[in-house]
């Protein structure tokens, strides 16, 4: 259930701020210039949409189409419904366009080297069906779903006529509509990993999105290198900025998993997207390198 607050404290810019829990995180939506009725309606639809996607894309929910696929697709070709099929097509495209570092089947990769050549599943466009290439393959869309949902909600809000707002998926994936009423962008500060509430890097979002990958706040290294099957233990944060939240999400995962030397190569294929490596030092200082550029100290 969503929590919604409206504020008219600034009559020039009435706003709504709402949140709900989904996809193992908290989803927040800030919309400027909406009234009570429109805001609630939007929020309800946004929540319903995210829940729908969660059901479609979750591999933890036994009843989800993805779980069914995961349990059957090694034995036989499994037909996937249109949207899921399209998602898998997208994932495969991203896999190829990231040298295999974005791979929704990474969780089950074997270390026999086969991984670097092929993904875990093959698609049959004629029958909209999916088949696993190896035993033990499992598709986990955890590194995809939030970005995808974020783009969906953004589109939905735009259609509702929202021109200024921010949608935040758990602080790690954020999309902006328009800009801050009192500036030309939405100022989003990335928190320093070592010093609470201190700023490590500022991102300016204007009709754009960002995504961050790195060690989770609980200290887990949760991103898997698809080429080795082991967890990547990088201390830096990877920040991606660009138009689509989905692309940002995919690239932040891929770049975190990829070795430094490969990162610029991957990024060169994505026009209009920018990647930075952010290192937060214990003394509270930060080093930020734009991938493919020279070091900037702060």
């Amino acid at each position: 259930m969503a929590e919604i607050t409206f504020s008219q404290k600034n009559p020039a810019y009435p706003l709504m701020c709402a949140s709900f829990r989904a996809m193992h995180t908290k989803v927040e939506l800030l919309a400027v210039g909406v009234d009570d009725e429109k805001g609630r309606d939007l929020m309800q639809r946004a929540e319903a949409e995210v829940r729908r996607l969660e059901r479609l894309l979750s591999c933890h929910d036994d009843a989800s189409p993805l779980s069914a696929l995961n349990s059957l697709a090694w034995e036989q070709s499994v037909e996937a419904e249109d949207e899921l099929y399209m998602v898998l097509e997208l994932c495969e495209t991203f896999r190829r366009a990231t040298y295999g570092y974005f791979d929704v089947t990474a969780m089950c990769s074997e270390t026999d080297g086969v991984m670097s050549l092929a993904g875990g599943y093959s698609l049959d466009a004629k029958h909209h069906s999916v088949r696993f290439c190896r035993k033990g393959v499992k598709i986990d869309l955890g590194g995809f779903a939030k970005g995808y949902a974020l783009d969906c909600i953004k589109r939905m809000s735009q259609q509702e006529g929202i021109t200024q707002g921010v949608i935040n998926f758990g602080n790690s994936s954020i999309a902006a509509l328009g800009h801050h009423p009192y500036g030309e962008w939405w100022p989003i500060g990335i928190e320093h990993r070592m010093v609470k509430s201190a700023l490590a890097q500022e991102v300016r979002l204007a009709d754009s999105a960002m995504s961050i990958s790195g060690r989770s706040e609980a200290g887990e290294y949760h991103i898997i290198d698809p080429h080795t099957g082991s967890r990547v233990a990088g201390e830096e944060l990877i920040l991606i900025e660009g138009r689509s939240a989905l692309v940002c999400e995919v690239l932040s995962t891929a770049l975190y998993a990829a070795p430094r030397a490969k990162r610029a190569d991957i990024m060169s294929q994505y026009d209009g997207y920018r990647a930075s490596e952010i290192v937060c030092r214990r003394d509270g200082t930060t080093e930020c390198r734009v991938v493919g550029a020279t070091v900037v100290e702060k």
């Binding site: 504020s7 600034n10 829990r21 908290k26 509430s197």
Partner: protein, 433 residues
């Protein structure tokens, strides 16, 4: 995440050494330890093939190192249930015969509580390596006897306190020891259910045999059956043992069926540093389910849901609220909130931070056993110990004291007194910090 992944993960962070020195009994699942027993078999006999016995059997069936050579139960239907899984196992109705069986190296004791001590000691004296379900024994004296017997025989003994082997707990305790929630100032445990705690009885003369939990001749009720699991939380978190114990128990609601153990209990365990640990159990209301919470000056760890909550107020409120305040006040300035996961908020409804990814949590409703609660890991550790003959470090003392304090609290309730564990029951205790 299972224990192997947990350790592998620690390894990647260069923490393997740290983690294992904090939790040395987890060592039995390290690569090295697994290699050590590869291809070898633990020849096991089970005494008491009731519901918990069957639960263990279902886990044991999946362990390649296990050969179940003998089963024993003096209640035929239960023995036959278990025999289905192991058509080649020898069947006994007298546990002493099973102990004479030379083909048995390790014994799993899953009988009612009043038999734990006796069977465990007989088994140790017969040279068997023993896993016995909690609680360790029926009385304070008997627990000490069991402890000493293991020492004299230089044997192997594990008690079914599976939380000690649960990766979630290990990770949470590690965080507590690292000071992630500040200084520990309270430990709260509770276990609520709403049912009569009875098992179905095929014919009336079997009542006391089947429903042994309800009679003080065989069990100390909620304290030995449930509390025992929780009572290590305080000592594990703080590295010390309670100084005094008080409690109150009553036959509150399920008091018409002839049972004579309390169906509602509350106990307080006070540590030398002044911290109180509580345990409460009521079986006529289940709203709050099961809870195990460590309270610190800077945060709280909920061991059951595997979440950490911070008490430290985030000064600027959440990122979105920072933006809201800016717009309301007609300004634009920095907001700081983006990162790899959301930041906690000030309210008591502040979202927690998971202690680790992908955990299975248990509600405490099952009377047989929960999923992913360390039961598989403790069995693996036992199997390993049966093969190697090595007593895992520290766990026995932790289990010993969990039993002693469960029994002492029960005594305090019956005597209406504040009690201290007598010096004679002290065994060497090495804190796990």
């Amino acid at each position: 995440m299972n224990r192997k992944e947990f350790l592998a993960d620690c390894g990647k962070k260069g923490l393997a050494g740290v983690a294992l020195s904090l939790f040395p009994w987890l060592e039995s699942c390290s690569e090295k330890a697994q290699q050590e027993v590869k291809g070898e078999k633990a020849r096991i006999g089970m005494i008491g093939t009731g519901s918990r016995g069957l639960y263990h059997i279902k886990n044991l069936l999946r362990m390649p190192n296990v050969e179940m050579v003998a089963l024993c139960d003096d209640y035929r239907p239960h023995l036959e249930n278990a025999a289905q899984y192991y058509p080649n196992a020898k069947l006994y109705d007298d546990y002493r015969k099973l102990l004479e069986d030379k083909s048995v190296d390790g014994v799993i004791v899953t009988t009612p509580l009043y038999l734990h001590g006796r069977i465990t000691m007989d088994a140790l004296r017969a040279g068997k390596r023993v896993f016995c379900e909690k609680s360790m024994a029926f009385t304070l004296d008997e627990a000490l006897d069991v402890y000493n017997c293991r020492k004299e025989m230089n044997g192997v003994l594990l008690i079914g306190q599976q939380r000690l082997f649960d990766p979630k707990y290990a990770r949470a305790m590690q965080m507590i020891h690292e000071g992630k929630i500040g200084k520990v100032v309270g430990v709260r445990n509770y276990w609520y259910r709403n049912n009569d705690w009875r098992r179905e009885v095929p014919s009336p003369e079997l009542e006391r045999r089947i429903n042994w939990r309800l009679y003080s001749e065989y069990s100390r009720g909620l304290m030995t059956e449930l509390a025992c699991h929780h009572l290590q939380n305080g000592s594990w978190a703080m590295g010390m043992l309670p100084e005094k114990v008080m409690g109150s128990g009553s036959l509150l609601h399920w008091n018409k069926d002839g049972r004579d153990v309390y169906d509602a209990v509350s106990a307080i365990f006070t540590y030398p540093n002044g911290v109180n640990m509580t345990f409460e159990s009521i079986i006529s209301n289940k709203h709050f389910g099961m809870g195990e919470q460590i309270l610190g000056t800077e945060g709280t760890i909920d061991l059951v849901t595997c979440m950490r909550y911070t008490d430290e107020p985030a000064p600027k409120g959440s990122g979105m609220h920072q933006l809201v305040a800016q717009i309301e006040n007609g300004v634009m300035s920095n907001s700081v909130f983006a990162g790899t996961s959301w930041a906690a908020e000030t309210s008591s409804l502040a979202p927690g931070i998971p202690i680790m990814d992908n955990v299975t949590i248990s509600t405490g409703e099952s009377t047989v056993g929960a999923e992913a609660d360390g039961s598989i890991e403790i069995m693996e550790a036992f199997v390993h110990a049966v093969i190697t003959g090595k007593q895992p470090e520290k766990v026995l003392e932790e289990s010993y004291y969990a039993t002693q304090f469960a029994l002492l609290a029960d005594k305090a309730m019956h005597e209406n007194a504040i009690l201290t564990l007598d010096e004679k029951y002290r065994v060497p205790y090495e804190p796990m910090k």
